[in-house]
């Protein structure tokens, strides 16, 4: 028994095809975000940018291919609890995520 077929094991997902590849998605709380820019500096995948008028900047996901690796480092640095991972990456074929639950914070109770 195998969780992936031989054919699936050989299939390498195309990264800019939404049917093949889903990258991480962060949820941004525009109320709390004060445009401090920290998350854009820390993001290892260069997916975040600031926008808006000079004194009221907010963060958003850049246009185009966003290859967020769902590390949540943006959440780790944000002092205002304004950003966090909402959806983690997943792919078809060889790199399909198996046997995972949704991303959650460290648990003390189960």
């Amino acid at each position: 028994m195998a969780l992936l077929s031989k054919k699936e094991m050989k299939r390498i997902p195309i990264v800019d095809d939404a049917n093949d590849s889903q990258f991480g998605v962060v949820a941004i709380d525009l109320e709390n975000c004060n445009g401090c820019k920290m998350c854009t500096i820390i993001c290892p995948c260069d997916v975040l940018e600031l926008y808006g008028p000079r004194h009221d900047k907010k963060v958003r996901i850049k246009e185009g291919l966003s290859m967020c690796l769902s590390c949540d480092n943006c959440h780790a640095i944000c002092e205002y609890d304004a950003i966090s991972i909402e959806q983690t990456y997943n792919f078809v074929g060889r790199y399909k995520q198996l046997n995972r639950g949704a991303a959650i914070q460290p648990r003390l109770k189960y």
Binding site: I42, P44, C45, D72, N73, A76, T88, A102, A103
Partner: protein, 264 residues
């Protein structure tokens, strides 16, 4: 003393022994829901650090970190590693440039996202990628593929300009799966550094250096050793470790009392 034994003693640096750690950790009963202890919290708060201050870390602190590495568990106590420590700014810049150049070459051949769908160029580089993937499928995960392309486009770095790079070299003769032992020694290094307030980042892309005769020579990588990873170390810039992160849960098959249950 046999020659083999003498060889080893002679190789040691002058100061070696240290006092015993004060007390062994006692087993403590904890209730469900009790707060994380210091060590648990350290593991939860550690992040990969990719922004470092320019300031060099004192040599004795790096030696102290390596000392914790020395006591990592390994299969059959075979300890299949030795270290290279790079602390010269120019050498680090040259390592960065070499690896970034490799990324540009790979990206140039394989980054099909640079071309419009349906064009010949797009088809050609997708075909290249598929061929390459047959040869080395585990290198073709979209995340490192993305990182290589970002580096090629100057949107990401390889080593992140740290003041110090620790490279644990793997002795390929290690028992069983020496990669595991390298992962453990690296974890010791990373957590020891974290406990001293330093930041670290694993750099798998450093393995490009292993494929270069010139770099193997410069870093003293000889058979049977291999350079498979590097760890950047330095003072943390800003406050990237304020909050813990969310991560996926993993299926766990729990076997107890003759029953099998899946938990997450």
């Amino acid at each position: 003393m046999s020659d083999i034994a003498k060889d080893r003693v002679d190789a040691n640096d002058a100061e070696e022994t240290e006092q015993q750690p004060r007390r062994a950790v006692k087993t403590t009963e904890i209730e469900e829901g009790d707060p994380w202890n210091t060590i648990e919290a350290a593991f939860l708060k550690r992040r990969s650090i990719r922004r470092f201050k320019k300031k060099q870390v004192p040599a004795h602190m790096i030696r102290r970190i390596l000392e914790i590495g020395r006591f990592a568990p390994s299969q059959g106590n075979c300890q299949p590693w030795k270290y290279v420590v790079v602390r010269d700014r120019e050498t680090i810049t040259e390592m960065e440039n070499f690896c970034a150049d490799m990324c540009r070459k790979i990206s140039g051949a394989l980054d099909y996202t640079a071309y419009k769908k349906g064009t010949f160029a797009r088809w050609r580089s997708e075909t290249f990628l598929k061929l390459f993937a047959k040869w080395r499928p585990s290198n073709m995960h979209p995340v490192p593929f993305g990182a290589v392309n970002l580096i090629a486009n100057d949107r990401f770095k390889v080593f992140h300009h740290p003041p110090t790079i620790i490279i644990p070299l793997m002795d390929t003769r290690g028992i069983g799966h020496p990669e595991i032992d390298l992962g453990i020694v690296g974890t010791n290094i990373v957590m020891a550094a974290h406990s001293l307030g330093l930041g670290t980042c694993w750099v798998g892309l450093a393995s490009f250096l292993n494929d270069s005769a010139e770099w193997r020579e410069r870093l003293g990588v000889e058979e049977p050793y291999q350079l498979i990873e590097a760890i950047s170390v330095g003072y943390v810039l800003g406050k990237p470790m304020q909050n813990t992160v969310a991560r996926e849960t993993h299926e766990t098959l729990w076997i107890e009392d003759g029953e099998k249950n899946l938990i997450y």
